[in-house]
């Protein structure tokens, strides 16, 4: 290149040369020379920081579960074959107020291996308790806990020998009611030592779906927010880019400016997110997840996943910033002159996404209906709803802007404020609706997630009654005593006690199955039944034509519960002639469904079971307890059963059907509310930024208008309307999308009767509108300041 050529080269390129380091240095200098960059950079960094926190938290889940499994493994017994054990154990959990107490009942000689953290093996009634449980048992106010867990605390477990610092955990010498003996059978699990370990089972598919959907709920609004923040001060930046282009800076050079700015925001954001995770981790010690505590050292991503997430976020931010910060049209408008033709609205990708989403959802529904695709496989159960939720929510975000614009094109407001609002939305539609689209995803997602929380919440919310399950060990003859004990608890409506006691051993025919059951359960199923102890009932099969009841006599084999029932060979049995027929109401819409205990063909009351099967010595009985929906009902029933001793510990706190997702329900609802609130705050922040930006860009015409007598109230009202109208339009779309997603997820997961909490949806929409009004009020303050006479001189 000759000296003349060099002189002729564009100034910006010449000054920095082609050296990447110098180009980067130039970009840094240019970027940070602009004072306004800090406002935009910090806003983006906060958004990216929250985004990083969410992603880091998400990738922390699998390694955290692994670490928890390792921690737990060291605390678990090593299972042994019967006869080779050095001690026996049985894990139990029960409710105490709002908390869950868990522990192991142990039975063995004093020389048996002591449990982790205990100096010796506890004998009958001796307790080693976690620090918090020890304090609870010592507290004079907690007599109920002492009733449920009778015994003497002989030691406190060190904090590093329990799963969570705040756990309510114990080891207690069993009281004998669970000990193996000929009268009660073998009820505890044999073990040879401690540190048995357990494989990490991972998360249930439903929980993965919830996590993935929740992440989308959180990430979509955050990405929108980052995109919106990066457009702050765009008019000024476009002027700068135009000037640089005029001076000869190439497209790549200008894009480098955007990349440096967004990359710096990404780096700062990742640092903020990682810092927030480190800080929040310190509080994990006091969080209990479904009764089990976490240890802060167990929580966090692996080093590799942490680095990948961080590098990924910075890269994505830089690449996005390079495209957002520069548009080819800028170069053709030196000094940012106003274009006579506005940039065309890009419809094609929105329409494409809509078509792809509709086709995918339709295909998945068709597959699930045709049984060609096994939705029971775990991958399909997770992937199908996740992909569906993702597509529907992304489509909602994509179409929300055109929907608002279409509405505004049809809207013909009579008032000047309405005209101003309409004009502003049409001019800045994408900016205004992006922040609202974030709220829409949350609303749609919240509606859609109800199928996963479905039945249990429906029963819990709409019915004044809950049902709970449990099991008690004992002999058939003890059923009346168990029932009598349980009925001591105030608020109990009914109790079903029963257990399968055998089935026909002929593999060539279906059943029949036999169940011992109390009369209350029989009458619960058929209120017209006249049940007396000693009766036997036959339950007609649902499809007697294709699935007829085999003819007696039957070869009844008692089930092997491992340690639950007496061993024995099959014995011949024919139902007596006075067997009654029971009409079980099989209406699936009944609030109270017939107990699973009624699935067998013959129901034997306790006296009949003892009469027909004299060798039957013991079993474990399943309890279905129906009680009023009152606080503290579970502990009340447990207290009533406490006199039965350790064998009555296993009363689960599940309501309705035992869905695996149910224990997480309070967490999920809490997470939904937290995500919703967070997104609402982000959205309000985005709306505030957008509105202030609009005011800033138009402060001269507004100031001149006010000078000419334009009332401030009119401008404020127009701003309020331009915030509220997109919210209303988008919320209508969100409710539609949510209902659609609700139906599709219900279909894919085969969950029926999904209940939607409309008041909650109303609260969500109301909160969004309230936020808009508050933003408008804040904007009024800004308007007042920005449109002072001095602003008339602003260019």
């Amino acid at each position: 290149m000759t000296a003349t050529d060099q002189l002729a080269a564009p100034t910006a390129d010449r000054s920095t040369g082609s050296h990447p380091g110098r180009a980067l240095g130039w970009a840094f200098t240019m970027t940070f020379a602009d004072r306004a960059v800090w406002r935009r950079l910090l806003t983006m960094a906060v958004g990216i920081g929250i985004c990083s926190l969410a992603l880091l938290a998400l990738v922390s889940i699998p390694p955290t579960l692994d670490r928890m499994a390792v921690t737990t493994a060291a605390l678990l017994p090593i299972n042994a074959d019967p006869g080779t054990e050095t001690f026996s154990y049985h894990y139990v959990s029960f409710a105490a107020g709002d908390e869950t107490i868990t522990g192991a009942l142990l039975s063995g000689p004093p020389q048996a291996p002591p449990p982790p953290g205990a100096p010796r093996f506890p004998q009958r009634g001796e307790i080693y308790a976690s620090p918090r449980l020890a304090a609870l048992l010592a507290s004079p106010e907690d007599a109920d806990v002492r009733t449920l867990l009778p015994g003497r605390v002989i030691g406190v477990l060190p904090a590093d020998r329990i799963r969570g610092a705040d756990d309510l955990f114990f080891y207690r010498g069993a009281d004998g009611s669970l000990a193996p003996n000929p009268a009660t059978g073998v009820s505890m699990s044999p073990a040879s030592g401690w540190g048995g370990g357990a494989s990490n089972q991972g998360l249930d598919p439903e929980l993965w779906i919830l996590l993935a959907t929740g992440s989308v709920l959180l990430l979509v609004p955050l990405l929108l927010f980052v995109g919106l923040a990066s457009r702050l001060g765009s008019a000024r930046r476009e002027r700068r880019n135009g000037m640089l282009a005029l001076l000869g800076a190439g497209r790549g050079r200008i894009r480098l400016l955007g990349a440096v700015e967004s990359g710096a925001a990404g780096l700062l954001g990742v640092m903020l997110g990682s810092g927030a995770l480190l800080v929040l981790r310190q509080f994990i010690d006091h969080v209990r997840f479904s009764g089990v505590g976490l240890r802060s050292e167990d929580v966090g991503p692996t080093a590799a996943s942490g680095w990948w997430v961080s590098i990924g976020i910075v890269t994505i931010a830089a690449v996005t910033g390079s495209f957002v910060g520069y548009r080819p049209a800028d170069a053709s408008r030196p000094q940012g002159s106003t274009p006579l033709r506005r940039r065309p609205f890009r419809w094609w990708w929105r329409v494409l996404l809509l078509v792809v989403s509709a086709a995918t959802v339709w295909w998945m529904l068709e597959q699930s209906r045709s049984d060609r695709w096994d939705l029971q496989s775990e991958a399909a159960r997770v992937l199908a709803p996740c992909i569906t939720a993702l597509l529907v929510m992304l489509t909602l975000v994509a179409v929300s802007t055109p929907l608002v614009l279409m509405f505004c094109r049809l809207w013909r407001p009579a008032s000047s404020a309405g005209q101003l609002a309409r004009g502003r939305i049409l001019m800045d539609g994408t900016l205004t609706t992006r922040s609202v689209a974030a709220l829409a995803t949350v609303l749609a997602g919240s509606i859609a997630l109800f199928p996963l929380l479905g039945d249990s919440s429906a029963d819990g919310v709409n019915s004044p009654m809950i049902e709970t399950f449990g099991q008690v060990r004992g002999s058939v003859g003890e059923i009346p005593a168990i029932e009598s004990a349980a009925r001591q608890s105030d608020g109990l409506l009914n109790i079903e006690i029963g257990s399968s006691i055998g089935e026909d051993s002929n593999p060539d025919r279906h059943g029949p199955g036999l169940t011992v059951i109390n009369c209350s359960a029989v009458e619960q199923a058929d209120p017209t039944a006249d049940c007396q102890d000693g009766d036997i009932f036959q339950v007609p099969r649902a499809d007697p034509v294709n699935d007829p009841l085999p003819e007696p006599p039957y070869r009844i084999m008692q089930p092997d519960y491992g340690s639950a029932t007496a061993q024995g060979s099959a014995e011949s049995w024919s139902p007596p002639t006075d067997t009654k027929v029971l009409t079980v109401a099989r209406d699936p819409n009944r609030k109270v469904r017939p107990s699973q205990l009624l699935a067998d063909d013959y129901l034997l009351t306790p006296e009949a079971a003892a009469r027909e099967f004299p060798k039957l010595v013991t079993t474990r009985f399943y309890l279905t307890v129906y009680m009023h929906l009152r606080p503290g009902m579970m502990p009340r029933v447990q207290l009533a059963l406490a006199p039965l001793g350790d064998r009555a510990f296993d009363l689960f706190s599940y309501t309705s059907e035992t869905q695996s997702v149910t224990p997480f329900r309070p967490w999920i609802i809490g997470a939904l509310i937290a995500v919703g609130t967070l997104v609402l705050l982000i959205s309000a922040l985005a709306q505030t930024l957008t509105t202030l930006e609009q005011i800033r860009e138009r402060r001269r015409p507004y100031a001149l208008g006010r000078a000419a007598g334009l009332p401030l109230s009119l401008l404020s009202l127009s701003i309020g309307l331009s915030l509220v109208v997109p919210i209303l339009v988008t919320m209508v779309a969100a409710v539609g999308a949510g209902l659609l997603l609700n139906l599709v997820l219900g279909e894919l997961l085969q969950i029926g009767n999904a209940a939607i909490d409309w008041p909650l949806v109303g609260v969500g929409v109301g909160a969004a509108l309230l936020a808009a009004i508050l933003v408008a009020l804040g904007a009024t303050w800004s308007l007042q300041r920005s449109t002072r006479p001095a602003a008339m001189r602003t260019e």
Binding site: S415, M427, Y702, L704, A707, A708, G709
Partner: protein, 248 residues
């Protein structure tokens, strides 16, 4: 200073009578106006009287206080001392709300650029003063269309200001200033961003409007050929006024 005003722009007979009617009371007067922006004095005892039907040009160098004087006279900025009276009422004693109503109902404004609300179409911008006065949308926009047609920019009616040329936008702004038939037009460099052809068009329109309707106009400019449209020229220097050309 040589006036460049053409014969056709001379004040009408009735208007000349009004201008030269020494017995009539001033429409607007500012007396001994003082205003400081922090440590910077903007007005140091400026005086200005505007008679009904009169066009007064305020001239001066950049930073001499021309625009500030206009803002004070229009009640946009209250002075630190001195009085502004409109039809005998002390504007400086009015509450901001009253001054705002006065500006809306009695004054019209034209600025150099950027005065049209970008969200509204041109016809909506022009109709805005009538709408604020309580007139319905259709009626206001009908009048606005007539006003736009009179100023030869009716084709911009349904377009937002960002998509029209500078000259068209300025004529739309003139239409908006005139539509409510104000008593006084305050024009701050109304042709500052226009070329000579557009300047002539806009000033002809303004002068004709003032002549036809008996408005008064306070015209801030630094261009002698724009000032030539006035009946009187006031020169501002360091925040003080001095008369340079009488209508006589």
């Amino acid at each position: 200073m040589t006036s460049t005003r053409s014969a056709g722009d001379q004040p009408s007979e009735g208007r000349q009578a009004a201008v030269t009617n020494e017995g009539s009371s001033p429409l607007l007067s500012g007396r001994d106006l003082v205003l400081d922006f922090g440590a910077t004095p903007a007005l140091r005892g400026a005086d200005l009287v505007v008679m009904p039907g009169e066009i007064v040009a305020v001239m001066g160098a950049s930073g001499s206080g021309k625009s500030t004087l206009l803002h004070v006279l229009a009640g946009i900025i209250p002075p630190d001392s001195g009085t502004v009276t409109y039809r005998g009422t002390d504007v400086t004693m009015m509450h901001e709300r009253e001054r705002s109503a006065l500006r809306r109902n009695a004054f019209g404004f034209i600025f150099q650029f950027g005065q049209l609300l970008p969200e509204l179409t041109c016809v909506q911008n022009v109709a805005l003063p009538l709408r604020l006065g309580g007139i319905g949308r259709k009626a206001a926009e009908r009048v606005a269309l007539e006003e736009l047609a009179r100023l030869d920019v009716v084709d911009t009616a349904d377009v937002v200001p960002g998509r029209v040329s500078g000259g068209q936008a300025q004529r739309v702004a003139v239409a908006r200033a005139l539509i409510a038939r104000p008593s006084i037009i305050f024009a701050d460099e109304p042709t500052g961003a226009l070329d000579s052809l557009q300047t002539e068009k806009v000033m002809d329109l303004l002068a004709k409007a003032v002549r036809d309707t008996q408005f008064a106009m306070v015209l801030v400019t630094h261009e002698p050929r724009v000032a030539a449209y006035s009946d009187r020229e006031i020169l501002m220097r360091d925040g003080r006024t001095s008369e340079t050309r009488d209508p006589a």
